[in-house]
Symmetry: D2
Subunit: 229 residues, 4 copies
């Protein structure tokens, strides 16, 4: 399994109407277009029902928003790693603050994704949790203080010391760890700051999905990355 | 919203490898073929990732295996009613014994499906729970004693009195209630017995999905219904 | 098992500091005193850790705030019916909106309490859920719209039609059902209204626990009952 | 806050009938007696309802089996740190395999116990999870492979390499970490092996609670510790 190219912008579609079904495909085409133009790696994390159609429609990396710690079998209503992979996902979010998980399950899921060649993007809420997760060596750790999600107040401005502290603690355990940050990211300058603080990109949701002109904002994000690296 | 045509056979794909991705589409085509040949209504309940492709490939009813009690918005990793509907589902299982739900959420979900024109198939584990659910007037109640699931011991033989008691208690609350039963159904005669006991069909999983020849078994089920009605 | 004497006021101590440990015993002595003076049945629902000391200190009914659907055995960190009973509880809340439960577990718990001679007080959030619960025949159903809890806006004033509708639907299923209502109850007149709407008392928390003078408010509640019956 | 004296034997009462109510007090007196005779530190982890009476009856350390990540307030049916502390607990188990927790909650609970002067004993299921937990610096980490719990097959014999690997990984992160191991411990020799493998004692449940002669077995455990140190 090759490594995930960083810096990266991952757009989390959550369960937003603006990023469901046909709208999800449209937004993914925009992300692909911006990625091609800018040369910056952009991934999307749509709802489970949209993974297959998006993976068929675009060539950028598609992530699942969650998988369950199950094997194939009798698990009605659960999310099977093998199913999201066959649908075309190349990785998955794990432990998003809107879908937090038990520690034992986070460990299982990181191991399972590694074995099956999927990228793991584990979300964390603070420096201590990030350090704990870093011992499990996921591909990416994404810091998102839940109190800032959806506020438009960027984590890298509101709590730069949390980002710095997280980078420091995580790197002391695993020097090769790759960090993103999220929550409140809405402008190119937020992305620039995120990179300056030691991250390799951002996990963004409403900042793109609910933007009046998602293409414009995403291009601004991508240019911030191009200009910083 | 028209009513769901009964009797009905609903095939729950759970997270079986034999009913994931391409295999899920194959099995759905078989179900469609048997439905057309026999004239019996057959629905399928695939994984979330497969709903859209199956709904595009076949004309039989497609059910989601679960939905979450959420509205569009910030619910990373959750199952949105609007998303499974746009993907092509006409209904959803609710409260399967492998995905049991809080009472307040079952109530919310039945109301939400009703408002949005999706069929609700609420699974229950015994007569008392079925009676409680019947006050909420879902489209279908499907009795599945969890201790019999996947055993090959059919509920209608192992516990005929539970089925009869359930039918009686549910009808005393809502005379128009439609009941299915499930768990351990593997043969045509199990389906016949299920109908004799007062149900309008079966919810089946491994009995079809893991059968050596799913088409043959499904045809046997369908003929049992044709011969009983 | 004798029946629980109604009308009743049940004071839920939640995890309030003002009703933990020594404070919980003090408050229970106040409740006992008011109950004796007024002749009105008053129960208390303290934290698990305080049940034994309170049951030893006072003669009024003590309720657990929750029990888990388990049998004795390997269930570290769970709440065992037999343990709260041996500690002196005569009943338990089930499905409080701050500790909502799966439908299958509510059914199990009502059956278990009945078998073991504990009173069941099942909390519900609306008329539909109350109707569903009434088929399971708990000793008491307590309606508490969660959006009003702790607001000081009494359910019987803010949503009298919800109380009336709940009483009507529940009685149509079980004419002997006993209903309480809760959420926002802080004055004697709220209790009077609650009884007028067809309930047999109230489940109250902050209205008493956080009152400047709990004895005075509780006496006001008790007198409202005495004057109404 | 002084440190917890080690080696230590912690007896988890789970929800065993043999260790509920009066029986729980009896067993705690036995533990106290053995602790005094042997000089070995022995703690007990009874049910919430029994903490206060046991803490009043004996002078050995009493642990809660769980606490919830809540503050005082509106949390009906939850376990409040302040309540178990006032009841007399000096510490708490966290994340037992029968009550596993979200990573963010484990982090919160370790921080909360530290601030309030309670000892934290965090249970883990394997070496990777133990390493993750060790970054959070709880007072004790207790390794218990869930598949061995209650089997009588001691972890230190069935999976000595898991114990050794856990000790090694945890110490590489935090050289001062204190490890226990549990699952299947029933004899003095199991305790000896546990210490030899680098732990500072055991977390035991059925091996003591369900023993025909708990005092004899507990004395055997204590002597194993005395002889090893």
């Amino acid at each position: 399994m090759s490594k995930l190219r960083v810096p990266i912008i991952i757009v989390n579609y959550k369960t937003y109407t603006q990023a469901t079904g046909k709208e999800a495909i449209k937004l993914s085409r925009i992300a692909e277009e911006v990625s091609k133009k800018s040369g910056v790696n952009i991934g999307v994390a749509p709802q489970f029902t949209d993974i297959a159609a998006i993976a068929a429609a675009v060539s950028i990396p598609v992530f699942s928003q969650h998988i369950d710690p199950i094997a194939p079998g009798s698990f009605t209503g659960h999310i099977l790693l093998e199913a999201v992979k066959e649908a075309g996902a190349v990785g998955t979010l794990i432990n998003h603050s809107e879908r937090t998980l038990k520690l034992c399950d986070i460990e299982t899921l990181i191991a399972k994704t590694r074995e099956s060649g999927l990228f793991s993007v584990v979300c964390t809420n603070n420096a201590a949790v990030s350090a704990a997760v870093s011992t499990l060596k996921p591909d990416i750790i994404s810091l998102e203080p839940p109190e800032l999600i959806g506020t438009g107040v960027p984590v890298c401005k509101a709590k730069p010391q949390v980002v710095t502290e997280t980078v420091k603690r995580v790197k002391s355990i695993n020097p090769n760890a790759v960090l993103l940050c999220g929550a409140g990211i809405t402008k190119g300058e937020d992305v620039t700051t995120a990179l300056t603080l030691g991250t390799m990109g951002v996990l963004v949701a409403s900042g793109i999905v609910k933007a009046k002109d998602p293409k414009k904002v995403l291009m601004e994000f991508a240019e911030a990355i191009t200009n910083s690296t």
